[in-house]
């Protein structure tokens, strides 16, 4: 079994980076040292009527710190967004399988949609460190996030698409419009299911290996409740353990 850490951790920073989107830094050395890209953490709320922890992808991890970027979508994430530096937060981390970088990968594409973008950052950083070139494709409804952070890695092109946006530097439409999958050894993706589904269809045509990070309503986060399943072939598979990263062929059979 993979090692995970229960921590009553200190919040180092928690601030809004875009409307309804927050970045939180949590001091958690054990978890940070063991985290890999594509994994997630469980954040425990101290809110009596909301019993379940919130699964949130890892945006970045350093020696002593895990950073998450999350969207306020309900009462739980609202409460999270109101927490202050130096407050204590309980987390369980790192969880899930994470992205797998095949040894022979030379050129990768990272495809993110909306709040699915942050988990790709730690992967992009890891690829840059491993000197594997990676083009970044990010799609949003109206407002991009993190584009500068990805550009700063300087490890490939950064493309932006906006569904309803008016940015001159962005493609107007879906991010999947821009991807020539045959140019890549490996594609990594995280985002809304329709985007992942479209991407999987696209990359299947060029037989490009594609990993997708999936979401599901989750309870335990560690495999015991068998709640967070998705259909993979004829079986139901747990997002928290067998995932959140799956081979696109498994979850979007063509």
């Amino acid at each position: 079994m993979k090692k995970m850490f229960w921590a009553e951790a200190e919040i180092r920073d928690n601030h809004c980076i875009s409307p309804d989107i927050y970045a939180m830094k949590i001091i958690a050395p054990d978890a940070a040292k063991n985290a890999k890209s594509g994994q997630f953490i469980m954040v425990y709320l101290d809110k009596g009527e909301l019993l379940l922890p919130r699964p949130i992808s890892i945006y970045d991890a350093n020696d002593d710190e895990i950073e998450i970027i999350y969207q306020v979508v309900g009462k739980g994430t609202k409460a999270l967004s109101q927490m202050q530096p130096q407050q204590e937060i309980k987390i369980l981390a790192p969880l899930g399988n994470g992205f797998t970088i095949a040894p022979d990968t030379k050129k990768a594409a990272l495809v993110g949609g909306g709040i699915g973008t942050p988990p790709l950052y730690y992967l992009a950083k890891t690829l840059a460190q491993a000197k594997i070139s990676a083009d970044i494709y990010l799609g949003f409804r109206t407002t991009p996030i993190l584009a500068e952070e990805f550009r700063a890695l300087n490890n490939g092109e950064v493309h932006i698409a906006l569904e309803n946006g008016t940015d001159d530097n962005a493609h107007k439409g879906f991010i999947t419009d821009l991807i020539a999958s045959q140019n890549y050894d490996q594609i990594f993706s995280c985002g809304p299911e329709p985007m992942l589904r479209a991407l999987a269809a696209l990359t299947a045509r060029t037989s490009t290996p594609t990993q997708v990070s999936m979401e599901q309503r989750m309870a335990c986060g560690i495999g015991t409740c068998v709640g967070c399943v998705i259909k993979a072939g004829a079986q139901y598979t747990r997002v928290c353990c067998e995932g959140p990263v799956f081979d696109a062929k498994e979850v979007f059979p063509q």
């Binding site: 079994m1 090692k3 425990y44 019993l51 379940l52 309980k90 989750m218 068998v226 709640g227 399943v229």
Partner: protein, 302 residues
Amino acid sequence: MIDTTVSIAGITLKSPIVTASGTFGSGQEYAQFNDLSRLGAITVKGVSHEPWLGNPPPRIAETHGGILNAVGLQNPGAKAFIEKDLPFLRTLDTKVIVNLCGRTVEDYVAVARDFEGVEGVHFFELNISCPNVKAGGMAMGTDPKMAEEVTRAVKRATATPLIVKLSPNVTDITLIAKAAEAGGADALCLINTLLGMKIDIHKKKPILGNKIGGLSGPAIKPVAVRMVYQVSKVTTLPIIGTGGAATWEDAIEFIMAGATAVSVGTANFTNPRVVTDILDGLVAYMQNQKIKNLSQIKGIIE
């Protein structure tokens, strides 16, 4: 010197704190945060004779003070359980309760027989109350005759002490309790989840893939305590109380209502160390109150 042991069907549990089926896996995951040998027993996830696919997702919905689940007892079957999960459980210095599920009387008998000659299983828990299984499951737990029949059949098929887990979705739970007792149950566990539903008003459909699921968590604790109290007055069988227990105070409440042991379920999700916290609180309470043995307060409510 306090003594936290309790006895069920002649078997001594080190403490009255037990984990609930379907919330604790086979214990391995939680062993990283808890000393499992302090537990009275671990109840493992429901096991059927053949592998079960389970229900379509989503399977989890959060409600006010509770959660709905409609897992549908997805499991790889008894054979896989015995091969993959039981070896770890055998290494633990605690008792193991295997939750048995089925759709027919024959199913239940078959899965009980799958464990013939298998070591490391101290109790069976007959799950005739899962609301997420179409046939069998809860249907058996809401009809006294069927409850008695399936209990008797499994009891005949195995020498392993048998706990029957009762459904709260009945008009009079004492009738089902008495039926299980008549069928030969060695103990009762109550309550399973309450049938519930949550609608995503934006998508205009139920959140759960199965539409309806089972409600658990602190929200239902008053119903659970009431039923434990009622059942304890009509049977001499030991009761494992369960339903929303999340603190040591909750555990004491169940015991005062008449439970011999207390099973912790949903609370494991809210706090993976909750069983340790409950045990610490329980021991401190016993010391402060100079309670040597929990039998001093068990069923103290008249």
